[in-house]
Symmetry: D2
Subunit: 334 residues, 4 copies
Amino acid sequence: MLNTLIVGASGYAGAELTAYLNRHPCMNITALAVSAQSADAGKLLSDLHPQLKGIVDLPLQPLVDVVQAAKGIDVVFLATAHEVSHDIAPVFLAAGCVVFDLSAAFRVRNASFYRQYYGFEHQHDDLLDQAVYGLAEWQSEQIKQAQLIAVPGCYPTAAQLALKPLIDQALLNLDQWPVINATSGVSGAGRKANITTSFCEISLQPYGVFTHRHHPEIVAHLGVPVIFTPHLAHFPRGILETITCRLKSGVAAQDVARAYHAAYDGKPLVRLYDQGMPALKAVIGLPFCDIGFAVQGEHLIAAAAEDNLLKGAAAQAVQCLNIRFGFPETQSLF
Amino acid sequence: MLNTLIVGASGYAGAELTAYLNRHPCMNITALAVSAQSADAGKLLSDLHPQLKGIVDLPLQPLVDVVQAAKGIDVVFLATAHEVSHDIAPVFLAAGCVVFDLSAAFRVRNASFYRQYYGFEHQHDDLLDQAVYGLAEWQSEQIKQAQLIAVPGCYPTAAQLALKPLIDQALLNLDQWPVINATSGVSGAGRKANITTSFCEISLQPYGVFTHRHHPEIVAHLGVPVIFTPHLAHFPRGILETITCRLKSGVAAQDVARAYHAAYDGKPLVRLYDQGMPALKAVIGLPFCDIGFAVQGEHLIAAAAEDNLLKGAAAQAVQCLNIRFGFPETQSLF
Amino acid sequence: MLNTLIVGASGYAGAELTAYLNRHPCMNITALAVSAQSADAGKLLSDLHPQLKGIVDLPLQPLVDVVQAAKGIDVVFLATAHEVSHDIAPVFLAAGCVVFDLSAAFRVRNASFYRQYYGFEHQHDDLLDQAVYGLAEWQSEQIKQAQLIAVPGCYPTAAQLALKPLIDQALLNLDQWPVINATSGVSGAGRKANITTSFCEISLQPYGVFTHRHHPEIVAHLGVPVIFTPHLAHFPRGILETITCRLKSGVAAQDVARAYHAAYDGKPLVRLYDQGMPALKAVIGLPFCDIGFAVQGEHLIAAAAEDNLLKGAAAQAVQCLNIRFGFPETQSLF
Amino acid sequence: MLNTLIVGASGYAGAELTAYLNRHPCMNITALAVSAQSADAGKLLSDLHPQLKGIVDLPLQPLVDVVQAAKGIDVVFLATAHEVSHDIAPVFLAAGCVVFDLSAAFRVRNASFYRQYYGFEHQHDDLLDQAVYGLAEWQSEQIKQAQLIAVPGCYPTAAQLALKPLIDQALLNLDQWPVINATSGVSGAGRKANITTSFCEISLQPYGVFTHRHHPEIVAHLGVPVIFTPHLAHFPRGILETITCRLKSGVAAQDVARAYHAAYDGKPLVRLYDQGMPALKAVIGLPFCDIGFAVQGEHLIAAAAEDNLLKGAAAQAVQCLNIRFGFPETQSLF
């Protein structure tokens, strides 16, 4: 049994993470923490997330108290603000914990990325070097050795899972940048009071066009330029990304299929569609990323669907945990 | 042409009201106002409510500026906080304006009502005496003479329209209190940042059980006790109220039908269903209250549907305006 | 390991049931069946319910084929049309199977109930006598002995769980009939093409007023008259029932709390709220029925929430299975 | 006053059209028709569309009866199946009526288009030559002279309005085909019983990839190749199209802005956004197409939003009517 601490359990991804870890046979939740100033400190997790009543009724403790009592913690999950992760990850790492960070604080080995997109100065170049990017299907060998795993963002997970096999197999004509149109449910914006995410304000709309934080994360890890246009839509959860690419001359649908199968056969959390396109409902509440595609001439349309809080956050974090510690890869995920 | 000022145009009901008045052939909108501290002051109404772009692009002015320039205003609509209405209505009344107040500030002739349910001390007993309650189908004679019209709350409008004909015709056995189960869309909670109305938090749920502010308003104007249980649901607008009553012995379905028809035949904004029950979709975006009912033995189920922002607020305010000034009752409402 | 057959796996409740049984460590799914005429025969369950892709990819077989090969089946679940259950349950019972019937075919010991509300003549009085009504929290001793378990309807489950403790403890003044206002998501209407459940037609609306099939089921098992008003709403799943009762003179909130706790402490699938009311989101995707209440004077408002497909169907069926065979009561349910 | 007949009034677009024409001061609705076999024949329009109760309570008559009594009809609207429009338009044209066809029957001057995409043989080459494509902002001169106006499809309207100014001004590098990602509400699929549009089945999903009927309509009228990927989403109405293009080298954001303003300044039903992107909520229930855009380097993202039933169908038909007969262009549209 590994003792684990979850920081930021009060958020939507944090609550999902806590539910997974709570039913994981090898994990013992030692404490749930929120930032000391949070109005939620002292409440039960199930006060905020009533679906967990009777399942996880643990209290949300102020982070400072928890850090001071961190002895004996094996594993820490950080589902908190980027700056907070940046500041506290070193403390836990120094204590020997394995850290799974669901924030962006260690995702890209480039300090200017944090300055430009997240508004803070990164202080830990050594940790940027050391962190393993937890795109689980592609990094499992590195994850097995890692002490700090930077769990990918929600949009970047689906985008990379759909594009990486094509890029790796050199199937794309990159003179034409892949066009990623992505639509996310509102939970991606986090659990907070904000007029822009209030019920009556939300409506399908592009946002962050050419400026979204996840664009440089995608580009950094794919190694190719892309156009990324996110949209917010009036549903609570799920992401669908529709990706339009130009194939190299002579590449056929079967080459695309072969690339996907080579990448994901045997990978339990990516489900390939031999025909048809994934629907959001197929993945809501589940840890999968579903991928379908169609080819016409040199044009490829691929679609990837995931639950933004699960394969896009909590489930991928637990998948990384399972890989890191040699548990079955889907342990406690469905 | 009457010159009109709309205070609180930035809210959901205020925006609907502004749209109605903007297309009203007898009304000239002089200014839109918001409270001086509002972050919305200086913006265009259509910045906040993009559906009005190109239709009403007027700026939202700080209330103080507007009051000082209030000369020549004939009609004022107050779609603002209860305390603000309480404070500024006297100013406009003293200037000779006719005031339509969509807040609760003058709805009930009982100062303790404001203390207990709205948290402020009412200072204007004279205005409470003078105000006419604008339940349009029932108060048209008084509205024609009024200078201060207190437009009813959203829940009370539907509840009273469904119950008043039955009470007036003495059809109910009131030993058993009418049970009003009401379900409202989220816009009823107003336009503001609040975790409780954020997209991912909203879910069908009873709230304010035995304590909702609209309960005493209903009771005061119906003159009979009722049980009122409001629910919030995950849709943006509309109210459905399902009302269970005990009929007096010997009262039959045709007596109920006769009472409803006597009350509402010729009333253009109440639509009676001779069979079947109203659905919310029938009234969304429209100024109607739809009423259906069924009888079995001594038991009556009535259902009333309305758009909470329209017949439950803005449309009823304009209906009162039309009655007050002798315009056709449905002018500019559909 | 018990061999099990699921008839009607293609429906919404059938698919949920199959997912539960698929992960149940003591159950072996032998076959999934649909009626022989169904256009779904021959497809994979995951073709219809893509969320199950990679989890349950079993084919849907024509019922006749399956019945002929029924040797070695220990347990049969019937999630099919009422008449079909009525006709085939005897076959499986005669073969020694334990049958869990999710249809209404054996819920009420009164042949006229089937004639009046379901439109067929019941031929099996002996089975009506033998069947145990599977309201799991209340019938566990009988379930342990039963060969035929009639799993309750979705609305009746929540209604009875909320009312039975109050009736058993004689807390209600039944001169005033309990008023049950219930709102259900669309999945309760089943998986079929129908203009009335097409996306753009659905809207919050009362239906089946005074005539719904679940009314006599509730009354038969509670033993008291009630008023039951169901509503359909524009969300896919979940039921909320708000129940208004008259308490006997002198009965206080703490008596109500005591009755609920006496009934449900130690019952893992009923969650009591000591304050506040349940929201639908607390139970979606989960096997619980959540109950809250409020008292004012002699008036009681209780609210019960459940997932209509889970505690209202599939989860309760599995809960009955677990009780029948001595497995942990919540095995594989969360 | 022009006498008008509406064929196919029972559908979603037909009902919207009827509501517009009912309030149009120059139009007199002579009859509403549905196909003779329709189960809706004999019902009131407001039986099917309860929002119209008390507004338009006209009966739906069998088409054959109406055609026989078609004398004195000035204007016919066809909101019916493509083949039906194809068959009956000639009858009305021969009788001297002006025909506005909301189906696809006369949209593209190419008989193989109908064979390949609509499954019927087009018999009226002369009418294909004669028909004017009613993209109102671009064809007003031709519309003024036309007897047969083919109102554009919902997706093609938004796509063309967003792309035409850029193509006309030669701003695009068409080596890279414009990528149109479009998301539509369910009403676009029409009013009928179908498992694929039943409430619980609908979920955000691409469909008709590379094969949708609206693709050749867009290409035929734009005169350039495009990639068009439609999606169905779980909301009742509205279309958002996000379009990614390559600009010619040296083309700047201000050139794009200039092209849009040159095309649409003075056009009342296209609203241009100088900054930000349109949200679906801005156009629901309204006759507008809203367009926004952003440029980065040689990449352009444009977004167009419309109500699929209005600017994508009924409102554009009435806009064409207004242009054809010299009424104010927005008469009765808001």
